[in-house]
Symmetry: C2
Subunit: 205 residues, 2 copies
């Protein structure tokens, strides 16, 4: 694409860096911004700078937070002996939305992925181990995605945590509620039979 | 969605204002920005502010430009007696990419759309009329979209321009090259028969 202005080209290039945004979509965003008044654009632009500069990470769970300790970690009504390990804040939001979990979280900031150059040292694995070593953690629940990278990270963490007196579990894998058996993939269906749940433990859907 | 931080929430809201971006996509953008270093985010944020503040509009065709006169209008090799009327700069880019047009443009900045509160006075229709009245324009080509709003704008412009000694045409509507006749819609196929092109005028596909 050939732009009539260097300023437009720069703006399109910046938008096109966002995940899933191509140059055509980026141009659409740029034209939208151009139609807004200057104050609106200033606010748009300011918001991200402010977020980047002022945002803090909870020193306990590494969640994004406006203060040193996030709301979840600061809440003494939650069970601090139960830690759920997730990849990023989107997973925290998803789990919180279920209203089924009362423990705290630990945000890894990613998963081990040698292909992307992400090793254990790039994640908050050491703080998790410290937390388990010194803290009052009784159980660690791994809630990572079921990809090769997720499984690798699960295994790595399990090895590291098995030195301590803490039980490690993963979230249940099985047939999603509402799914039909005949369309389920074999691996999931196989696992759901092996890891069957006693009927009396069943929660209403 | 419930965010653990007001800063994140503001950033998500700003991104979600962009056309076609929902709150989930906006959150993905925000998490991407958070992973970049502060300098990168500063540049991202700066670019849009700079674009909005420094961008000029060509005083001849209202195209976006870095100077008072855009490259196309400043180019004396182009035919200044031929004006193509388009909705926005994306259309200019699309037509320029065909390498079939050697005239100049006039960017309306939108089309007449009472539903969105856009009337003739919100567009650059008056400057177009002035250009035709005083200038050396011989032909005006309308290249607007074939929606109800596009047709309304075409008709409005045609009425306004018919007072002057200028020929007004619209771009050809017909079966796209590569399309099969049996799948073409009736209106397009009908028009393509009525407005058939003499064989000797046919350009190679």
């Amino acid at each position: 694409m050939d732009f009539s202005s260097r300023l437009i080209e720069n703006a399109v290039n910046e938008f096109a860096k966002l995940p899933g945004v191509g140059r055509k979509t980026a141009l659409r965003f740029v034209l939208y911004l151009l139609k807004q008044d200057a104050r609106e654009v200033a606010r748009f632009s300011d918001t991200f700078l402010k977020m980047k500069n002022e945002l803090k990470y909870c020193k306990c769970c590494h969640n994004i937070s406006d203060s040193d300790l996030c709301e979840i970690c600061a809440n003494q009504k939650r069970d601090h002996s139960l830690v759920c390990v997730v990849e990023d804040i989107r997973d925290v939001m998803a789990i919180e939305n279920t209203h089924q979990y009362n423990g705290i979280y630990h945000i890894l900031g990613g998963i081990i992925s040698p292909m992307d150059g992400i090793g254990p040292d790039d994640l908050t694995i050491q703080p998790l181990i410290e937390k388990v070593k010194h803290g009052r953690v009784k159980e660690v629940i791994m809630a990572l995605s079921t990809t090769m990278e997720g499984d690798t990270t699960n295994f790595y963490l399990y090895k590291k945590l098995s030195e301590f007196n803490v039980s490690v579990s993963t979230i249940a894998r099985g047939i999603a509620i509402g799914d039909e058996l005949e369309y389920a993939d074999e691996v999931t269906l196989g696992r759901s039979i092996v890891n069957r749940t006693p009927y009396e433990k069943q929660l209403p859907a």
